[in-house]
């Protein structure tokens, strides 16, 4: 499982998150709108995943485990929250 809901308030993204993970992520976010997304173990994410994070203005926890995501994507996701 690369996307899972833990204890009802944290959505964990783990490893390489592919397009197939987009739907579960969206459903988790709809079910728990105030959940935090912990992507510290995320090593890569499909465009669809990042798109959901941006559209949902989800609160993310920590920095992902990929230089590209850390440097270039994480600031955009954080900015979307504002």
């Amino acid at each position: 499982m690369t996307v899972r809901l833990v204890d009802g308030v944290t959505i964990v993204l783990e490893g390489q998150c592919e397009i197939d993970d987009a739907d579960p992520l969206l459903r988790h976010l709809l079910a728990a709108p105030h959940a935090t997304v912990d992507w510290r173990l995320c090593q890569g994410a499909h465009t669809a995943i990042i798109q959901i994070l941006l559209a949902s203005k989800a609160v993310v926890h920590g920095l992902p485990d990929s230089i590209f995501l850390q440097r270039n994507v994480a600031p955009l996701v954080k900015k979307a929250q504002d």
Binding site: A22, L30, H46, T47, A48, I50, Q51, L54, L76
Partner: protein
């Protein structure tokens, strides 16, 4: 160097070799799909490996090669020699990059992007039929609003960015398996990224997760061409704007390591010292060290230039001349107006020795076992020390010690053998480089030839295997450029049109035999005699007295070369004498046999190992030196009145032969010995086919030593073959007689 880079360098070299083998086999048998797949896999793995160390330029180059090979796989492209050649050139580039990284300790080569661009261009020409690179012509256009907005939004990135990209994926792209962000992530040198929704985000429950609603905008420091290549699958959805013409800036000098810089800086400090006493010595020493540092870094021309500045500095008595030269070397500048500046010497491709050895686990296990036994033997010594302290009978103690010594002797012997076994490499290590080179040489000389290698699994010491490349290459060059006839000549003679050159290795007792045999025209003895006379290598009467084998051997004489036409490959003034010298240096022999019309065979006979050397110690000028025993013919006492001056030097007669005599202490710059004995003690040594005498003060003993070759800054020290430690801890310098008698 970090662990990943080390692993990368090791693996990449192996992959390049694999790919080269496959490509060459593929050229011979274009239909061999296994070889094709294997080559493709090698390139693919190389690409992956480059990705691990963040080497974007190499990833690009490998990707392009992969595209070409995959077009062959699908049958879209045929296998052509040109295509194989392009792929091989691509591998050459990789090797250059790897070498550069090895030297710089893992830094990516600064000109890698340019190299990758050149490779892409090469492949671009290849795939004329609408390949991805055909789309590369990107006009430099006036700035458009999104570019300006992007630059305004990222002022900190604007300075670095050279290309702006807007990627508007079509909404259904996810279904085609595209991942726009994933593609963008592969772009070289991303300095800024913006992800914007095409329309304001809808409520979350209305969002279609499988449609792409994003526009991606990127600023990269890489070129527009690079971006276009990486994004070639989606070029219809991408706008690429070059922001400025990329400039190939050259900065700093990548060639000097940090340690080398420190050493050079230390010499500057030394020169800056304002003390009159010993100034000349400081000047000479600083100059020598600096030149050695440069030489060690492979900067031969700079080192020579620096030495000229040194002598200039010495004649003028002004250390500042040298200091300026050292500073220039530090900054990587060439100093104008250097005395007798001859320009940089053409740089030969540097031979990088394999730094890592792959060793069979069993051999390591054998060492571990031996270590255990040695520990036990060591413990026994403390037990015996205890016995001695308790007043054990000396005779019994001596017997015990002797017995123990025998045991230790056996263990050390075994240890040496095991270590030697670790240092051996299969000859394949050097052989596998030749099919490629022979292919290129044969093609450029228009003499079709194929190389057949045999016995690649034969093992020899690492140092020998690695030193064999140059001499073997030279012999192969000769075989192709002189030995083999042209295709039409061969046809007229009824020989197969493609010549065969055999490269064979066999083990013969304590020796390794390597043979290079061609089926060409053989050696014309008459021609050798003529050339030998013309070039003054031998006189007519000497020639007349020579046997055929001796005449043939003249090929190895200095100054002999039968090349009538100077080609780019051979006939550059380096003759077979260089081959003989290289083989001599390894403690081996080289010989030649030939049959007119049938071919020529060059045979190298080499020792299995270099590590143990038998030396004889001699004393000269109050210091002990070692002379390699295999060079020593005999030792004689020569009365001083029988030593005759010949010009500026001396000679004596031994069994009707005049033998040149050198005084070792004088040659080594230790001054003449003050107390001449009635008789001179002379070591007669066989050097370069002749005999030479070395006068020494005293003859010592014979011993087997583990010779340590000089390394680092001492590599180019004159007249020294290596060093070893004596039983009492002193360093024994073992002389290189070849150099001393040169």
């Amino acid at each position: 160097m970090n662990e990943f880079v080390e692993q990368f360098l090791l693996e990449a070299r192996e992959l390049v070799e694999q790919a080269t083998d496959d490509l060459l086999a593929l050229e011979e048998k274009p239909g061999d799909s296994e070889r094709l797949d294997s080559a493709f896999r090698a390139f693919h793995t190389l690409k992956g490996a480059a990705g691990i160390v963040d080497f974007a330029a190499m990833t690009r180059a490998m990707h392009a090669a992969e595209d070409v090979l995959s077009a062959i796989r699908t049958g879209a492209n045929p296998v052509t020699p040109r295509l194989i050649g392009d792929c091989l050139t691509c591998l050459d580039q990789v090797i250059q990059w790897l070498d550069a990284m090895q030297v710089s300790g893992g830094e990516l080569p600064p000109d890698a992007e340019a190299g990758a661009d050149a490779i892409l261009r090469r492949f671009g020409e290849e795939s004329r039929v609408g390949g991805p690179v055909a789309l590369l012509a990107l006009p430099q256009q006036a700035p458009v609003s999104w570019v300006e907005a992007m630059l305004d939004g990222h002022p900190e990135a604007a300075a670095e960015a050279s290309t702006a990209i807007r990627y508007s994926p079509d909404p259904g792209c996810f279904f085609r398996g595209e991942d726009p962000l994933g593609l963008i992530a592969q772009l070289p040198g991303i300095v800024a990224l913006d992800l914007l929704p095409v329309a304001p985000w809808p409520e979350l429950d209305a969002l279609d997760p499988f449609a792409c609603h994003l526009v991606l905008m990127v600023l990269i420091s890489g070129s527009a061409e690079q971006a276009a290549t990486l994004l070639h699958q989606v070029l219809d959805q991408v706008e690429i704007r070059p922001l400025r013409v990329a400039t190939g800036g050259v900065e700093g000098d990548p060639g000097l390591s940090a340690a080398a810089r420190k050493l050079l800086e230390a010499q500057l400090l030394l020169l800056a010292e304002d003390v009159a006493e010993g100034a000349a010595g400081r000047l000479a020493s600083a100059g020598k060290v600096a030149a050695n540092v440069l030489r060690h870094g492979g900067k031969m021309a700079e080192a020579e230039r620096l030495e000229r500045h040194l002598s200039h500095s010495q004649t003028a008595g002004d250390p500042r001349i040298l200091a300026t030269a050292i500073e220039a070397a530090l900054n990587g500048r060439l100093l104008a107006g250097a005395p007798d500046d001859v320009g940089p010497a053409p740089r030969l491709p540097e031979e990088t020795a394999a730094r890592a050895l792959r060793v069979d686990v069993e051999r390591v296990d054998a060492l571990v076992t031996l270590t255990g036994e040695l520990t036990i033997a060591k413990n026994a010594i403390s037990h015996m020390a205890g016995l001695a302290q308790d007043g054990m009978d000396p005779k019994a103690l001596a017997a015990l010690l002797k017995q123990h010594h025998v045991q230790l002797d056996r263990l050390v012997d075994e240890l040496q053998q095991s270590v030697l076994r670790i240092r051996v490499l299969p000859l394949n290590h050097v052989f596998r480089r030749f099919p490629r080179l022979v292919r290129d040489m044969a093609a450029s000389l228009g003499r079709p030839a194929r190389l057949v290698t045999e016995g690649e699994a034969t093992e020899a010491d690492k140092a020998i295997v690695e030193a064999l490349f140059e001499p073997l290459l030279h012999v192969l060059r000769n075989a192709i450029s002189h030995g083999i006839e042209t295709a039409s000549e061969r046809a007229a003679l009824g020989k197969p049109p493609v010549a065969t050159v055999h490269l064979r290795a066999t083990r013969d007792g304590e020796h390794v035999i390597i043979e290079v045999a061609d089926d060409g025209r053989g050696i014309d003895l008459e021609r050798i005699r003529e050339v030998a006379m013309e070039r003054g290598v031998a006189q007519a009467e000497t020639l007349a007295a020579m046997t055929e084998a001796e005449v043939m051997d003249l090929i190895f004489a200095p100054g002999f070369s039968t090349a009538t036409a100077v080609t780019g490959l051979s006939g550059r003034g380096v003759g077979m004498d260089a081959v003989r010298m290289a083989v001599d240096r390894l403690g081996g022999r080289v010989g030649i046999e030939s049959r007119p019309g049938e071919g020529t065979l060059v045979r190298f006979t080499l020792p299995l190992t270099l590590m143990m050397t038998a030396v004889m110690t001699v004393e000269a000028g109050g210091q002990l030196f070692g002379i390699p025993l295999d060079a020593v013919v005999q030792t004689v006492s020569v009365p001083h009145d029988r030593i005759l001056p010949v010009g500026a030097s001396h000679a004596f007669v031994l069994r009707d032969r005049t033998i040149p005599l050198l005084e070792l202490a004088e040659v080594l710059g230790q001054g003449r010995t003050m107390t001449p004995a009635a008789e001179a003690k002379v070591v007669v040594a066989a050097v370069r086919g002749g005999l030479g005498g070395l006068e020494v003060d005293r003859l010592g003993e014979r011993m087997n030593v583990m010779l340590r070759p000089l390394d680092g800054l001492l590599t180019s020290l004159w007249g020294v073959a290596g060093t070893t430690l004596l039983g009492d801890g002193r360093v024994l310098i073992v002389l290189d007689l070849e150099e001393i008698f040169r």
